[in-house]
């Protein structure tokens, strides 16, 4: 209470604040992930159907959750940026994309590693896996579009529009692939297995998710600091290069 949050919407004020927060997020992330992994790998009971290999879901499921969560957050920041014409919002969106893409990739990788012993195949056209794959393409699209456009303002906005369009698309894809699977009578195995999950398993899963979330915060904040520096440097470099002259109006 009493803190003027709006103050931090200026990159200059945000920069030191982010710097102060990063170590805390990092520590919390490391702790949560360490405890989560300990419970998930050593404490949680062995699954009577899948044996030990199921334990990869303690990485897979949180990574998949984070990948989708971060995409929505990225789109929200981009939307704010366009609605309020706020530069910091776009910088946040830019900083989120690589981390989101990383989690998407991690989810796909661990999904494949889990799929091999469980389904006997590295890749199955399961609705969740396919949606994750498309999500990865969309992250790639957002980042590619940004890097292809030289003008920063346009790059921010164009990739923002694409991110927002993607938000509508992902649920439709999930639904459509599910529909498609039932039609083809393919692998109708669901990723989380039985719905009855032991309390320890749930604890581990939630702890890992929390850890990943805190990790994302730390990484995104430090990346946004880089983005701010990069952009402000461009600005100041140019300011010193061109002599600002008052405009004469007659």
């Amino acid at each position: 209470m009493g803190i003027n949050w709006l103050k931090y919407s200026a990159p200059q004020a945000f920069y030191p604040l982010a710097g102060k927060l990063i170590p805390w997020f990092s520590i919390v992330a490391a702790l949560a992930i360490a405890v989560g992994l300990y419970i998930g790998l050593l404490v949680a009971p062995t699954d009577f159907q899948q044996g030990e290999s199921y334990r990869i879901i303690f990485v897979h499921v949180p990574a998949a959750w984070m990948s989708m969560f971060l995409y929505v957050v990225m789109a929200l920041w981009a939307g704010f940026g366009m609605g309020l014409n706020a530069r910091l919002s776009f910088m946040m969106a830019q900083a989120i994309a690589p981390t989101g893409a990383m989690f998407t990739f991690l989810a796909l990788l661990t999904g494949a590693m889990w799929g091999k012993p469980t389904w006997g195949a590295w890749w199955v056209w399961d609705a969740r896996l396919t949606s994750e794959l498309i999500l990865l393409f969309q992250y790639a699209g957002v980042m590619l579009l940004r890097t292809s456009i030289d003008d920063l303002r346009r790059a921010d906005r164009a990739s923002g529009v694409f991110a927002l369009v993607g938000v509508v698309n992902v649920p439709i894809i999930y639904f459509s692939v599910k529909w498609w699977n039932t039609l083809h009578q393919g692998a109708s195995v669901s990723m989380t297995g039985g719905s009855k999950m032991a309390a320890t398993m749930l604890t581990a899963m939630l702890l890992m998710t929390f850890g990943f979330w805190m990790y994302s915060m730390a990484v995104i904040l430090s990346r946004s600091r880089c983005v701010i520096l990069e952009r402000e440097q461009l600005l100041s470099w140019n300011k010193s290069a061109s002599t600002p002259e008052p405009v004469e109006v007659r």
Partner: protein, 227 residues
């Protein structure tokens, strides 16, 4: 929310684009030739086994239609952007999304309708029977406008960007997945004797949804591109 002259402006956009396509008929015909060639390559690649062709037919034809649509996307706004007509279009006393609908409709007439009309012929190449051919044409009729709708968002986003041809494919193809699934699914389920109604209604739903959202996204992207 109709304004005076809105319908005129919409028709004006369509008329001009169709007139331009008539002047450059060979350009307009190229995606269709592409579709026919790609569809003909598949039997050569996988072998003439009728059962195999019938199984892969719906998917192959839909993917080919999707790629043909993609090829023609570059033309929707690029010329207008380069010769300044796009600027003029943005500065008209009509809502830009409405004009975008005109552009999309013209694109569909030029690139989508020929695909729909040719599809029965191509379907027969793949050994689809009468009902499946009809479902194929119907699914394309419902699906290709959605492809044009979604595609123009991508086309507007990459206007004037280097390497835009490839970039638009990378942006738009993931967005095409649901249409592809429902479209090919409609034909496949008709072949399997399940009935295509469910898939066709989902295609219709996609069309309605894209009709609501895509013109706004495209209009926003055009304004961004013109800055």
């Amino acid at each position: 929310m109709t304004r005076p002259g809105m319908w005129d402006a919409l028709c004006g956009v369509v008329r001009r684009d169709l007139l331009l396509a008539m002047r450059r008929r060979s350009d307009a015909a190229m995606p269709v030739f592409f579709l026919v060639i790609v569809a003909s390559l598949f039997p050569l690649g996988v072998g003439p086994e009728p059962a195999v062709l019938r199984t892969i037919g719906p998917g192959v034809l839909w993917v080919a239609a999707l790629l043909a649509c993609l090829l023609s996307l570059g033309r929707v706004f690029t010329a207008d952007y380069l010769d300044g007509v796009l600027e003029q279009m943005v500065l008209i006393a009509q809502p830009l999304p409405v004009l975008v609908v005109g552009k999309v409709f013209a694109h569909w007439v030029i690139a989508g309708v020929p695909v729909v009309l040719l599809s029965p012929l191509l379907g027969m190449q793949f050994g689809l029977d009468g009902e499946a051919v009809a479902v194929l044409a119907l699914s394309l009729l419902l699906g290709t406008p959605t492809l044009s709708m979604i595609g123009t968002i991508g086309a507007a986003l990459v206007l004037g960007v280097r390497g835009s041809g490839l970039l638009v494919a990378l942006l738009v193809l993931p967005l095409y997945v649901p249409v592809l699934i429902f479209g090919a699914g409609a034909v496949a389920s008709s072949l399997a004797g399940v009935g295509a109604e469910a898939n066709l209604s989902l295609l219709g739903a996609c069309l309605v949804l894209s009709l609501f959202f895509a013109p706004w996204a495209t209009a926003a992207a055009l304004r961004i591109a013109l800055e």
